[in-house]
């Protein structure tokens, strides 16, 4: 059976679900482990995502974004899992009243982070973000999805994508600041 589908903006002709879905395997797995923070649970999540996607492939809307569709299945599966429910219960409801974005300071964590290249510190800072902030940040920065694509993957309006992203970045900077102080970088503040 042949389908024309839009995968990340490109029209491809392919003859199977396998050809569309397997190239996304590594990134879906990475995203799954970021969400679950556990290897076994990430494997279960990815496995269930592929099983659901395969089963529902006939309902996939031709011409729409396959990658966003796969992420949406994974994310919805996660949210209904025990870990997902637990993670989201500890997260406050969305509030659009975050206040204006503050002007960035000259002695920023960004600069310090770049200078020190401390990947592990950044990873643990991302780990500590609430799941709604973490997922939107990863989809934007790691998967390089557009706001529209993130909106499709997470089934949220673009305005919510922007506010969550803004909150995630601000939270990350706030979390990185004390880490930098501990390593001595804060002395310059």
């Amino acid at each position: 059976m042949f389908y024309y589908v839009d995968v990340s903006g490109a029209n491809l002709q392919t003859d199977s679900f396998e050809e569309l879905a397997m190239p996304l395997f590594d990134q879906l797995y990475n995203f799954a482990q970021w969400l679950t923070q556990n290897r076994e649970e990430a494997e279960d999540l990815v496995q269930e995502t592929y099983a659901k996607a395969l089963k529902g492939f006939s309902s996939f809307q031709l011409g729409t974004n396959f990658r966003a569709w796969m992420y949406r299945i994974l994310r919805n599966t996660f949210l209904t899992s025990r870990t997902g429910l637990k993670a989201t219960m500890t997260v406050p409801l969305d509030s659009e009243e975050d206040g204006p974005e503050l002007a960035i300071e000259p002695d920023t964590p960004e600069t310090l982070l770049f200078e020190r290249s401390n990947r592990e510190q950044l990873q643990s800072a991302i780990d500590e973000l609430p799941v709604y902030s973490r997922e939107v940040l990863l989809l934007c920065e790691v998967e390089e999805m557009s706001y529209q694509e993130i909106s499709e993957a997470l089934s949220i309006p673009i305005g919510t994508v922007m506010s969550r992203l803004s909150r995630a970045r601000r939270a990350l900077r706030t979390r990185l600041r004390p880490m930098m102080r501990e390593t001595g970088a804060g002395a310059i503040e």
């Binding site: 059976m1 042949f2 389908y3 024309y4 199977s16 679900f17 396998e18 879905a21 397997m22 395997f25 590594d26 797995y29 990475n30 482990q33 970021w34 290897r39 990430a42 494997e43 990815v46 496995q47 592929y50 099983a51 395969l54 006939s58 031709l62 011409g63 204006p100 974005e101 002007a103 960035i104 000259p106 920023t108 964590p109 960004e110 600069t111 982070l113 770049f114 290249s117 990947r119 950044l122 990873q123 991302i126 940040l137 990863l138 934007c140 920065e141 790691v142 390089e144 557009s146 706001y147 922007m162 992203l165 803004s166 970045r169 990350l172 900077r173």
Partner: protein, 258 residues
């Protein structure tokens, strides 16, 4: 104040999500503003750092193989299942036809020209589904499929826009009925395949054409639902193992396109 308003949407700018003219305006501003360009650089560095740090987890080779096996096996199995069902339908059809012929002979009645045509259409449908390459032009795009028939059949026809319908076009091939060349199109509806046949009405034998114009219901012995009509000098047949309503829905789309 100018810088503050820029900094408020600096991330959106760096994500490439502001309008092109606004991008150009900011570029011009940043070239002359040390503060904004320093902030932009810092945030780009942060973006890069997150991108690198974010690619953190790698699946095991064993897990990859497990998923690969699952996704590779299932479509083929379901595909084979489809052909098995088609083959089973062919057997049912053959038995049905033989029984019908036998009873027909016994009762001394000849099968009508119309029933014979329906039976032929059903055979063509089943034969195509059972084929390893059911279509010769493989495309979901009607603008690809329609021109493919040019020069192969002595007429032209229109295909409907399917964007807001549950049907999808899988492709087409040439076919023959009553020694007349025609177009055979295959549509998909929830994994069910529906055949659409189009022939030039005047090329069909007068007896057959007249019998089809009798407008009688589709024969009950067929294991498929079938609808046929004549429009613009062309004879259409729609046949498949979906409901009468689904067949009628596709027929209406075709009628509206013709």
């Amino acid at each position: 104040m100018v810088c503050e308003s820029w900094k408020a949407k600096l991330d959106t700018y760096l994500d490439g999500e502001v309008a092109e003219d606004e991008m150009r305006t900011f570029d011009a501003h940043a070239r002359g503003c040390a503060s904004c360009s320093a902030d932009a650089l810092a945030r780009v560095q942060m973006k890069r750092a997150i991108q690198v740090a974010g690619k953190r987890f790698t699946p095991s080779a064993e897990f990859r193989q497990r998923i690969q096996r699952r996704v590779a096996a299932k479509p083929r199995r379901s595909f084979r299942m489809g052909w098995m069902l088609a083959a089973a339908a062919a057997i049912i059809l053959a038995v049905g036809t033989l029984t019908s012929n036998y009873l027909g002979i016994r009762s001394g009645n000849e099968a009508s020209s119309r029933d014979h045509a329906y039976s032929e259409i059903a055979d063509l449908h089943v034969e195509t589904l059972a084929s390893a390459s059911p279509v010769d032009v493989v495309s979901t795009d009607r603008h690809t499929v329609k021109p493919w028939f040019q020069g192969k059949i002595p007429f032209a026809f229109n295909l409907p826009e399917l964007q807001n319908s549950p049907f999808s076009l899988l492709g087409g091939r040439m076919t023959y009925l009553d020694q007349t060349p025609g177009a055979h199109l295959i549509y998909d509806l929830r994994k069910h395949h529906i055949s659409v046949f189009v022939f030039q009405e005047r090329s069909l034998s007068p007896t057959l054409a007249a019998s089809l114009n009798a407008n009688s219901p589709s024969p009950k012995q067929l294991p498929f639902n079938l609808e046929t009509w004549s429009q613009g000098g062309l004879r259409y047949f729609v046949i498949g193992d979906v409901s009468v309503a689904d067949i009628d829905s596709l027929a209406r789309l075709l009628k509206s396109a013709s």
